[in-house]
């Protein structure tokens, strides 16, 4: 019954229509009988065979007794519409793989810090733990640090959704470009110092004023800096250069990390791309830092350029027009 062409058989279409996005085999058997398509004693085996050949129908929780399974609603919506081409089947497979990877990544990024929070909170609440004042402080600091991390992940997810929906209005004003770099460096310094990584600032000769959303541009620069620190070797140097040319200002972040493979460079600004773990840095982040930074740059009429090669480190340059992009921004006019 399986269809190598990616075309689902009538029984699967019927099953998906009857089942929605989940249910037990027993419920389904009853519904199939009621609809005139049953009984089918080998229904689960039939569905499994077809699911594996189609690839995109996810079957979960099938125990040795074969009593439960779930078909994804993504596949269900599509399949109930009828015929499908190879390209469409490929697209569905890609979407399903992305969805699975995304949920695993977000689960890891939220549940891991939550584990540290719960462990520390349990110790603070325990009547028999008796932490010393120093241990008490460590527990509270760990909770605070991990709560911040979770807040950042949630913020990144919300930000990227808002940028894509075009629902973020930039609050533009005039500010000095090197000041922004200095503050971004300051926010990363505690993390860098833990690994003896130097954060150097190379300012321009003259002060450079920019018209834009200072908070958002700092957020973008912090995302670039955060990646640079993460992939730098212990004791390495990360340099931030501020330059002005042809009506644009650029903040360039250069690291001494392992460099990014050419294949990965094409994917860097895709949402939820976390990069290969063999780049040498710890896995961290949901893969939204660079897409968010790019969305902020684009909203200012700017861009992000990447120069990287294996063994030579990476340079990410965030550049925007110094006078802003009137069409893209909402002025508050206070500082202009």
């Amino acid at each position: 019954m399986a269809s190598g062409s990616g075309r689902p058989t009538p029984i699967l279409r019927a099953v998906l229509g009857l089942l929605g996005d989940g249910g037990s085999a027993t419920d389904l058997a009853d519904r199939l009988v009621a609809s005139g398509l049953g009984p089918r004693p080998n229904l689960v085996a039939e569905l499994l065979a077809e699911a594996s050949s189609l690839g995109f129908v996810r079957v979960a929780s099938v125990g040795p007794d074969g009593e439960r399974f779930v078909l994804t609603s993504l596949g269900a919506r599509f399949l109930t519409e009828g015929a499908m081409t190879e390209d469409e089947a490929d697209r569905l497979r890609d979407l399903e793989a992305l969805r699975t990877e995304l949920s695993a990544t977000i689960a890891h990024e939220l549940r891991t810090p939550l584990t540290a929070v719960r462990t520390c909170a349990a110790l603070l609440l325990s009547e028999d733990a008796h932490p010393t004042p120093e241990q008490h402080r460590t527990l509270v600091e760990t909770i605070e640090r991990n709560a911040e991390r979770m807040q950042r992940v949630v913020g990144d997810i919300l930000d990227i959704s808002r940028f894509r929906a075009g629902s973020i209005a930039l609050q533009a004003r005039r500010f000095e470009a090197t000041d922004l770099a200095r503050e971004a460096i300051g926010s990363l310094r505690p993390v860098a110092e833990q690994r003896a990584i130097a954060l150097d600032l190379r300012p321009p000769e003259d002060r450079v004023y920019v018209y834009g959303d200072r908070r958002r541009l700092e957020q973008a620069l912090v995302n670039l800096l955060s990646n640079a620190v993460r992939f730098s070797p212990d004791g390495g140097v990360v340099e931030v250069a501020v330059e002005q040319a042809a009506g644009r200002v650029a903040w360039s972040v250069r690291d001494e990390g392992p460099g990014i493979p050419a294949d990965d460079q094409r994917m860097l600004f895709e949402r939820f791309f976390v990069g290969r773990s063999d780049r040498g840095g710890p896995r961290d982040g949901v893969g939204l830092g660079l897409p968010t930074a790019l969305a902020i740059a684009n909203a200012h009429g700017g861009r992000i350029d990447v120069d990287s090669a294996i063994g030579r480190g990476s340079t990410f340059s965030l550049s925007v027009p110094t006078e802003g992009d009137e069409a893209a921004m909402t002025k508050d006019g206070n500082d202009r």
């Binding site: 040795p64 695993a104 689960a107 890891h108 891991t112 584990t115 540290a116 719960r118 460590t138 896995r283």
Partner: protein, 231 residues
């Protein structure tokens, strides 16, 4: 006693280290943030227990477990941010002793750890009857061994315990909860996946077909029954 905590998040390792320092002082915590580092520590330091995260930056925890099992029987608890049942089954099939889903708190983890250690220390069950025979299977209770067609079966302690309780109640249905409590402990009566994985492993070693069983019959929704009849 020394525990190796393998997690790519330093705060997880450090908070567990502090937790053991405060509440289980006999435990020393070793840490590893990558799979390769974990394999080195297991090989060189011989920890008594390993807490192993699945999401590691270099090689995933399942692969680390597979490699550990190639040279060590050290008890391994998988730590994971995923709560997918298939992940759980995969870990157990590769030889994990337990599975804890993040976020857990320290007290939950200590309870699971104590259960695993208790199970490791528990002597195998003994019987007054010297042995049991059904078809080509012979279980020698005194020697705590089993033979099929006269060949000794390589059973893990957990597999032996499961077989023991099934054959000692030959002909009777043992519920999932009963078997889980007898073999794993009372905390595990809802962990039916554990039982399924081990029944499958036992069937494989016995050459038993679940559709036409000679030894272990699935009683759907209830449990399992040993159906080989002792002569």
């Amino acid at each position: 006693m020394r525990i190796l905590v393998v997690d790519d998040e330093p705060d997880v390792i450090e908070s567990l280290r502090l937790g053991f320092t405060l509440q289980w002082r006999e435990i020393d915590v070793l840490g590893a943030s990558t799979g390769e580092a974990a394999l080195d520590v297991v090989e060189q330091e011989h920890p008594d227990v390993v807490l192993l995260d699945i999401g590691l930056p270099d090689i995933d925890g399942f692969e680390v477990l597979r490699r550990i099992r190639a040279f060590s029987d050290v008890p391994v608890l998988m730590l994971t941010a995923r709560d997918d049942a298939m992940d759980k089954v995969k870990g157990l099939e590769l030889g994990a002793d337990d599975y804890v889903t993040k976020p857990f708190n320290h007290l939950e983890l200590m309870a699971r750890l104590r259960a695993v250690l208790r199970r490791m220390a528990m002597p195998p069950p003994v019987s007054r009857a010297p042995s049991f025979r059904a078809h080509d299977l012979e279980v020698d209770f005194a020697a705590q061994t089993a033979r099929l067609h006269g060949e000794r079966l390589e059973l893990t302690p957990t597999e032996y315990k499961l077989l023991y309780h099934l054959v000692r109640n030959s002909g009777h249905v043992l519920s999932h909860a009963t078997l889980l409590a007898k073999v794993w402990g009372r905390e595990y009566v809802d962990e039916v996946d554990y039982l399924r994985v081990y029944v499958r492993r036992l069937r494989d070693k016995l050459g038993d077909d679940p559709d036409q069983p000679r030894y272990i019959k699935t009683e759907r929704g209830l449990g399992y029954r040993f159906i080989g009849v002792a002569p």
